[in-house]
Amino acid sequence: MTAHCKFVFAVLGLACLSLALCGTVAAQGHDVDVAVVVHPDTPVSDLSLADVRKVLLGDRQYWKSNLPVVLLMRAPVARERNVVLKIIYQMSEAQFKQYWIAKIFRAESASAPKVVYSNDMANDLVTAVPGAIAFIDAREVRPGAKVLRVDGHLPGEPGYPLR
């Protein structure tokens, strides 16, 4: 086998390996919808993505005058948080932190989103805290939870934007 043949062999072998790995990674990174879940007494059932963004940016702070919005966000590196940051906030983790520091100390909001550490905790709190809104892996939403339609779609439906 000449040096040229060895080189061709190595390149093609690496290419095969890379493609196989790409396929595996693509298969593992499939999209799962993130459901927007609110406390059962919240007087909304359908929001546009722009409205969800308004709520998450703290520009809409009340569902109605006696029911403030309580934002629940998964802790950093959770997939639900990444989806919310990418699709709704369109910010990096650092930008998100800076945004809320500035928001609070501009006197535009009294508190930042509350951090939840698991989908279980998010399910627990969104059921118990009036006005709460949480973003939960659609597979882990508990029965009876109030899941909002976003742009007219529920999780799992075509066109659902949070995935």
């Binding site: 043949c5 006197a107 698991s118």
Partner: protein, 428 residues
Amino acid sequence: MCFRLSSVLVFLLAAGVALAQSTASSPPAEPSVQELLDRIERLEKRVSELEEHERTQAGAAVGGSGRQAAVPAQAGQMGAPSSSSHEHMAPSVEVQEAETHYPSLQVRGFGDVDFSATDLKGTNSGFNMGQFVLHFASALSGKVSYFGEVSFTAEPTTYELAVERSIIRYDYNDDFKLSFGKYHTPLGYWNAAYHHGAWLQTSISRPEMIKFGGSLIPVHFVGAEAEGNIPSGGLGLGYSLGLGNGRGELFSKAGDSGDVNSNRAWVASVFARPARLYGLQVGGSFYGDKLSTTPGTNFSEWIAAADVVYIKEHPEILAEYANVHHHELGTSQDFNTTSYYVQLAYRLPWQQNKWKPYYRFEYIHRPGMEPIWDFSSTPSVVDLVGSTVGIRYDITNYAAFKGEYRNTRHGVNEPNVNGAFFQTAFTF
């Protein structure tokens, strides 16, 4: 031999492509290792919860609960609340932690250390301490909040303490929030968006038209303010209306201890944040006041400002314009001072988005004779043409280095001044 080996490998490559495509396009049947680990973690947590629940029940008096097992989630049930949600009532500790307790207090500090060197004759290069700033935010109830801001500024012999903002606000709803206190005047964008604390803003310094201690725009406002959203669908309109003391005896300061005359200043602003153009804000604001320089000499002041900003950092665009109109009531003379700035920045995508270069052009033009600006021995507002080019590097999420080069000309027929400025700004 080589040709045959290559042919086999090309076949393998083609097979790899086909395999990769079929794997990627087929429904994901196998969960990833991370997903399995997550699932194990959840199951472990659930087991510990159930064990805890059993322990609690064993300790309690025996009684039929009549509870039913949770029904597995069905897509059709997602929108409908049911009684089974009571199965999952949150542990009281978690709920207590999530609830806001009143009064709650958040304190955040800001600081910066600066170095400057210019070719302006008579100035020294060197380090200086920037402002040390403390911000306070406290929810007093679900509807009432307090916000405060104090600054310590280095002076030759001491530190000057100043209350920069002190606001108590009542929220009726998103459309109406009423507050009282001392504000940064909601005139234009920058003054209400970037407060004391250099870390908050991209550049080292504020534009001269709204610099702290400057006179062109009344930076502070003492009085009452109503603000909120205007129901407008995707247009995203908001408003702010204020009534207050206006400028103090020193035009650069607000009348914290009382108004200098019996005329109130007012400010009104409206802005739009269109839902379809996330990140864009367009606003306009007006400010009116009556100024009394000396007994019997009165001026009306009317400031019109407009701003366009795009704040998503890819790019970041800030542009403001303000015209300050003074009308001498005795002689009916009019004076217009024009100012604007445009700042462009872009958060570079490399190295975890830490680098952000920026450029700002700013301009101020005042009439040759302007009694308000020339009221004190040295003019409080002068002509300006200036360019600033710099870069910000975010060392962490809470600290940044900034470096700037400025070329500015203050006054008419004055030489341009070049300067290099460095700053480390942080929040804690």
